[in-house]
């Protein structure tokens, strides 16, 4: 089933509702249909086999997504922050693409042999009149190709099929369920699965979306107030900056604030919950490979956890909630056997929305259709899922497997610590030894020995970092995901320098 069917349903259901952009002058569902048809015609005329989108988020993005779907070619949103070398090797996979790129990125696409339009040119082209809105092409091509961020290995192209994305929508969103006045503020970049999923689910629910192209806390707050934003989607680093921002933080129309993409420090979410008691907070866990969300911690879970004195309930602020309908989840041990509640292992999922398919590699699922996320975690007695970090991040010190997340959690509890990353550094004696990079809160002083003692009090000696270095900031992607290999490179370089 083609994504275009969702757009056609939106046109049937609420054609005159503004679904993209500002209340005044935004794009209605009917208009999006016409623009997707004109855009699809442009794609077909160019003979392109894909649409590479190398620009910031904005109205051009959903128009490109539905035009590509109607033309039966994949949309390939690409990270505009990649270095030239990475970008060139990625573009080499799409030699017959048409490109939509911000001015500064046009030359690199042209060098790769692509026809390129800026977002403004693309929107102008998609605004040209079309005789009729043709049916979508039946296609075997994926709907969207998203490259993994490459935090642990070289980027891989994840193929999201029309069936994966429509299954996700049908499984988790009720058609036309949004109020006509609802509006969502999106501040994730277009190459992130959450932005792709949001463009589709918002349209299907009838919720207008508005994009903040370049995030600053002040602009986010201002736009949220100006446009009476009811729903917002942020990554944890953004929420941390918003709650710490100066000035007026009242958001009278905000009802739902969703976050995900990286672990949320408990101190940040607690502060946010107290700051906006009327807002429903939603934590989502998912991967590109799973077409976004597979587990959700809802507003009531958040409120109950904040109010509870019971440690198990309180701990749920650190959980990603329960698995969504249509997805099966198993925790498995090192022998690939499913384990029960409370036991940490690898998170495996299956379901129609799970693509688990990589360009040039195929589907990475087992005989029973399960995809190994390579994330570690456990499920508690009540079905709440807790994420414990990436399998690939596991530090093996002596023969002991140590999850960096466990140590990071303890370090973050120290009031003077703003951010931290723990890595395993190659060591002749232990195989790996534990070292930590720490960002201290501005204006505070922290003796590394005091911090080591703080960790040792909670964990034990073998899990206490042997060395702690202080940095101004950690290498994170724009969406807040820690780039561990950069932490390791820099820590090792520091070691040599010392």
């Amino acid at each position: 089933m083609n994504l275009t069917m969702l757009l056609d349903m939106a046109i049937d259901g609420f054609s005159d509702r503004v679904v993209i952009g500002r209340r005044e002058g935004g794009i209605t569902a009917a208009r999006l249909g016409e623009m997707s048809a004109a855009g699809a015609a442009a794609i077909r005329e160019s003979g392109a086999d894909s649409v590479v989108y190398l620009a910031v988020n904005g109205p051009a993005f959903p128009v490109a997504m539905f035009a590509a779907a109607r033309a039966g070619v994949p949309l390939v949103p690409v990270n505009y922050r990649l270095g030239a070398e990475q970008l060139e090797s990625l573009l080499a996979n799409h030699p017959r693409a048409i490109g939509i790129a911000d001015e500064a990125q046009v030359p690199i696409l042209e060098r790769a042999g692509l026809t390129v339009l800026t977002p403004a040119q693309w929107l102008a082209r998609a605004s040209e009149p079309v005789a009729a809105v043709p049916d979508a092409e039946e296609t075997e091509a994926p709907a969207v190709v998203i490259y993994t961020s490459g935090t642990t290995s070289a980027p891989k192209g994840v193929l999201l099929r029309h069936d994966n994305l429509t299954s996700y929508v049908f499984g988790s969103v009720e058609f036309a369920s949004a109020e006509p006045t609802d509006a969502a503020l999106i501040s994730v970049p277009p190459y992130h699965i959450a932005a792709v999923a949001n463009a589709i689910t918002s349209l299907y629910s009838g919720r207008r979306t508005l994009v903040l192209e370049r995030f600053t806390p002040a602009q986010w707050l201002q736009l949220a107030r100006e446009e009476d934003i009811s729903n917002a989607l942020v990554v944890p680093t953004m929420l941390a900056r918003i709650v710490d921002a100066d000035g007026d933080k009242a958001l009278p129309s905000l009802r739902s604030l969703a976050y995900g993409g990286a672990p949320m420090p408990t101190s940040v979410i607690e502060k946010a919950l107290r700051m906006w008691p009327e807002v429903g907070f939603v934590n989502a866990y998912g991967l590109t490979e799973t077409s976004s969300t597979v587990a959700v911690l809802g507003p009531e879970d958040h409120r109950a956890a904040l109010a509870s004195s019971e440690p198990a309930v309180r701990a749920r602020l650190g959980s990603v909630g329960r698995v969504v309908p249509g997805v099966d989840l198993e925790i498995r041990d090192a022998n690939d056997a499913a384990v029960g509640p409370g036991v940490t292992g690898t998170i495996c999922v299956r379901g129609e929305q799970v693509s688990a398919e990589y360009a040039g590699i195929g589907r990475a699922v087992d005989d029973r259709g399960f995809f190994n996320t390579r994330d570690q975690g456990f499920v508690d007695e009540d079905g709440y899922l807790y994420i414990g970090g990436r399998m690939d991040d596991t530090i093996i010190r002596g023969a002991e497997n140590i999850a960096p997340a466990e140590i990071e959690d303890v370090i973050l509890r120290h009031p003077a610590v703003l951010d931290t990353a723990v890595v395993g550094v190659p060591d002749e004696e232990w195989g790996q030894r534990i070292e930590a990079a720490v960002v201290v809160r501005p204006g505070m002083v922290l003796d590394p020995e005091e911090l080591r003692a703080h960790v040792r009090n909670v964990l034990r000696g073998s899990k206490t970092p042997e060395r702690i270095v202080y940095w101004d900031e950690l290498p994170r992607t724009e969406t807040g995901k820690l780039v561990r290999r950069h932490v390791l490179d820099r820590i090792v370089a520091d070691d040599v320098a010392v």
Partner: protein
């Protein structure tokens, strides 16, 4: 008819179209307006052929279920006929919506 998840079905009596969200394992007779549905993306009827006993109508975006058969469909185009499986009217599924997560 053997149904499969993701399949598009069209009414022969009105404009109703559906997609299959949950499919029974066995053969089922799914009707709209009293006549068997067929594979297709747009309803083929003008409403004149609807059996009066099957005139409740279908609503865009609603899910319809029959728990006995293990069938769930989603209405992608509305019509004037109503849905039934083995003669039993399908029921509108009461949604328990998930909080919006993206």
């Amino acid at each position: 008819m053997i149904l499969k998840v993701g399949q598009s079905l069209a009414s022969t009596t009105d404009s109703t179209a559906l997609i299959v969200v949950r499919a029974p394992t066995g053969d089922v007779a799914l009707t709209c307006g009293g006549a068997d549905m067929v594979v297709g993306k747009a309803g083929l009827g003008d409403g004149s052929g609807i059996d009066d006993a099957h005139r409740g109508g279908t609503l865009l975006g609603k899910r319809y279920v029959d728990d006995e058969a293990g069938l769930e469909v989603l209405c992608t185009k509305a019509g004037d006929g109503s849905l039934a499986v083995a003669g039993r009217p399908l029921e509108v599924k009461q949604a328990k919506p998930l909080p919006s997560s993206d």
